[in-house]
């Protein structure tokens, strides 16, 4: 069993439906609820996911179903459980053992524009180097997420 820490709830309906969790090594897991009962608690299908791919999902560019059917590396899909306030990756799920009941239907693209605004969220500041040919993609992501970007060079004006 691999303990996880909840980083963010991305979709909530009665209970958290889509969450992002992280393990002790800093690996992120994108988890979608597929089963809930009093005896076993919450069961999520979780996939280890890189920061760029997670950003692609949050930016509305990655179908949630694809994240599970085509993970970035082998052996990346886990059964993630939340029982008695303990969140953990409990079992590796082989790709052929993923069942339809675990999966979202095709066409679920996340929409960050509907997220509740936090008036004074804590901010991290990064200095990025973005290829010029990714300017539109980057500005779209910045816009969708409601981030702020300041160009440091004349070639990258947003």
């Amino acid at each position: 069993m691999r303990p996880l820490t909840l980083m963010q709830t991305l979709e909530y309906y009665d209970v958290p439906q889509i969450i992002v969790a992280v393990d002790a090594m800093g690996t992120r897991y994108l988890c979608t609820l597929f089963k809930q009962d009093e005896e076993n608690g919450f069961e999520y299908i979780g996939v280890q996911i890189s920061e760029p791919r997670l950003m692609a999902f949050v930016g509305g560019q990655l179908d949630l179903r694809e994240a599970y059917l085509h993970p970035e590396v082998e052996n990346a899909v886990y059964l993630v459980t939340a029982r008695k306030e303990v969140l953990a990756a409990t079992k590796l799920i082989q790709q052929q053992d993923i069942t339809e009941k675990m999966l979202p239907e095709a066409g679920y693209f996340f929409d960050a524009s509907d997220l509740v605004d936090d008036e004074n969220p804590p901010l991290d500041t990064y200095q990025l180097e973005v290829p010029v040919h990714d300017r539109i993609t980057f500005s779209t992501l910045v816009s969708r997420m409601g981030w702020r970007a300041f160009s440091l060079r004349k070639t990258a004006v947003f």
Binding site: E11, Y12, Y13, K35, I45, Y108, D114
Partner: protein, 71 residues
């Protein structure tokens, strides 16, 4: 008086329909629209999305008084 248990509701039809793609909701056949009156309870935005609200219905709430809109 509102009951202690709230019910999730969404004020965006497209968003509600999109949620039907999630594993927990694939069994549902569709969405319904409800027209709530002030006497039906209290509603507050909750959760991470602006479109998500919790409705705490009153004990006096009557299903027969509910105006159900087909969606």
């Amino acid at each position: 008086m509102p009951l202690a248990v709230g019910l999730s509701v969404i004020d965006d039809e497209a968003k509600a329909r999109k949620n039907l793609k999630l594993p927990m909701f694939k069994q549902f056949k569709g969405v319904i629209a409800l027209m709530l009156n002030p006497t039906d309870g209290v509603v507050k935005q909750t959760g991470v999305h602006r479109s998500h609200h919790t409705w705490w219905r009153t004990k006096s709430f009557e299903m027969s008084n509910l105006k159900m809109l087909e969606v």
